[in-house]
């Protein structure tokens, strides 16, 4: 009984595990579930590794690389698990790339990227916790300080 999952397994789709506690709703906003998507959110589950963790399951969908890069910004320890026919097909840690282009807005209101029609660029200074430097204004931010580009 100890091993029983608190949420039902899914047939097809993606599980995002090892999200820091209370960050699941931010992850949900990244993956932008459609109105008819079936999504399960678990908050503050016990975790051997992290004490507490969140978990998100989304049925019938595999995430894009852009979604995964965005998740890595706020959940650098997250694991992505791809499920097909109730079986784990693939399981891998999210990995933030060395540069992020067009993914997030710069949090510096005086940065040129907030005043011109242009793509933002960040260089990852530190991967966990995530710290990024804006290529333009040179300011450094924590991953969760940045607002993601939704378009």
């Amino acid at each position: 009984m100890d091993k029983k999952l608190k949420v039902d397994p899914i047939r097809e789709g993606t599980v995002i595990d090892h999200i820091p506690a209370n960050k699941a709703l931010q992850v949900l906003s990244i993956i932008k579930a459609a109105q008819d998507d079936v999504v399960t959110v678990g908050i503050n589950f016990a975790s051997h590794k992290f004490g507490r963790k969140d978990i998100v399951k989304i049925e019938g969908r595999e995430l894009s690389q852009k979604d995964i890069n965005s998740i890595a910004l706020i959940a650098p320890d997250a694991t992505v698990i791809i499920i097909r026919d109730f079986q784990v097909i693939n399981k891998y840690p999210v990995q933030i790339p060395d540069t992020l282009n067009g993914l997030a807005r710069c949090a510096n209101p005086r940065c040129i990227t907030n005043h011109e029609e242009m793509m933002t660029r960040f260089r990852v200074q530190q991967k966990n916790p995530v710290r990024l430097r804006c290529h333009y204004c040179e300011r450094v931010f924590d991953g969760d300080e940045l607002e993601l580009v939704t378009a």
Partner: protein, 300 residues
């Protein structure tokens, strides 16, 4: 194409080469000729000193200067994008010198054009030509850039000059004293960078105790235009005023630098002391800018 956007892009080898070249130009050992070149000076934000210094530098090299000063009545005011504005200047000039109120503007411009770009100040971010002339001034007065004790005094939060300067000196093993009221302290992200580089610094709110140890005191103006709240400005504007009476026990090589303009942070009774070097420092700016313009224009 090589540009000059941020001190972060320069290693000590390139810094030393520019300092040597500025010295060669000042002494007359090198006389570069840029008489067939045009400098486009785009000052989106007002400036007197930096603009005149670049203007003088280009003219002493024999070159020509075209200038946009402020945005009133220009295509910018009509809503033209920055990218379009600079692509037009790209057609007229051989090098662009730009000051802009937005941070990162110079980097962005350098990605839009195929001529060299010099950052003459981008918001509160970088002002690398000021840093290089500061380094040239330090080298001239100390005969070295290595192992110096340097106090940075005044507005360390908004002062891009001091931000650029700390990166510029990173390769020369300095000891820094950051002396500022709490509201204007050096930003944490810069202290983090210094920690990562293993540099030695002390954050202080008082200056007197360290004056006898200093080689350089670098004073900056507390800038009214950086404060959204005028009350905040009134509270801190007189926080550090350097007077001759403070400077009775100083080392022989001690010099005071200031990027200018000053308001009242260095009392005029300091001007006649042997350590006062801020006016010569401004003069050094022309030689350093000649060295920078020559080095970048040689690529064409």
């Amino acid at each position: 194409m090589e540009h000059l956007i941020s001190m972060r892009d320069l290693d000590t080898r390139r810094i030393n080469a520019l300092i040597k070249r500025a010295g060669d130009i000042e002494s007359g050992r090198e006389k570069p000729d840029m008489s067939n070149r045009v400098m486009g000076a785009l000052f989106f934000e007002p400036s007197t000193r930096t603009q005149l210094s670049f203007d003088t530098a280009m003219k002493r090299l024999g070159g020509k200067v075209i200038t946009m000063s402020g945005t009133k009545g220009t295509s910018v005011e009509k809503g033209e994008s920055l990218a379009d504005t600079v692509k037009i200047i790209n057609q007229y000039a051989d090098i662009i010198v730009v000051r802009h109120y937005n941070e990162g503007a110079a980097r962005y411009i350098s990605e839009q054009v195929d001529i060299p770009v010099v950052n003459a100040g981008d918001g509160a971010n970088q002002h690398p030509t000021q840093s290089l002339l500061d380094l040239y001034s330090i080298q001239k007065t100390q005969n070295t850039l290595n192992n110096l004790r340097i106090a940075l005094v005044g507005d360390l939060k908004y002062g891009r000059t001091v931000h650029s300067l700390v990166y510029a000196l990173a390769g020369y093993n300095p000891v820094f004293y950051f002396v500022a009221p709490e509201a204007l302290a050096m930003p944490q992200y810069i202290l983090d960078d210094l920690d990562n580089m293993g540099m030695t610094y002390e954050v202080r709110e008082t200056l007197e105790e360290i004056i006898p140890q200093l080689d350089i005191m670098y004073v900056t103006r507390i800038q009214r235009e950086r404060f959204a709240d005028p009350e905040e400005y009134e509270k801190v504007k007189n926080a550090f005023i350097i007077r001759a009476a403070h400077l009775t026990e100083v080392k022989e090589n001690f010099r005071i630098l200031h990027p200018l303009p000053r308001v009242n942070e260095i009392h005029t009774d300091v001007d006649t002391l042997p350590g006062a070097y801020y006016f010569q420092q401004a003069g050094n700016g022309v030689y350093m800018r000649q060295a920078i313009l020559t080095t970048l224009l040689e690529q064409l």
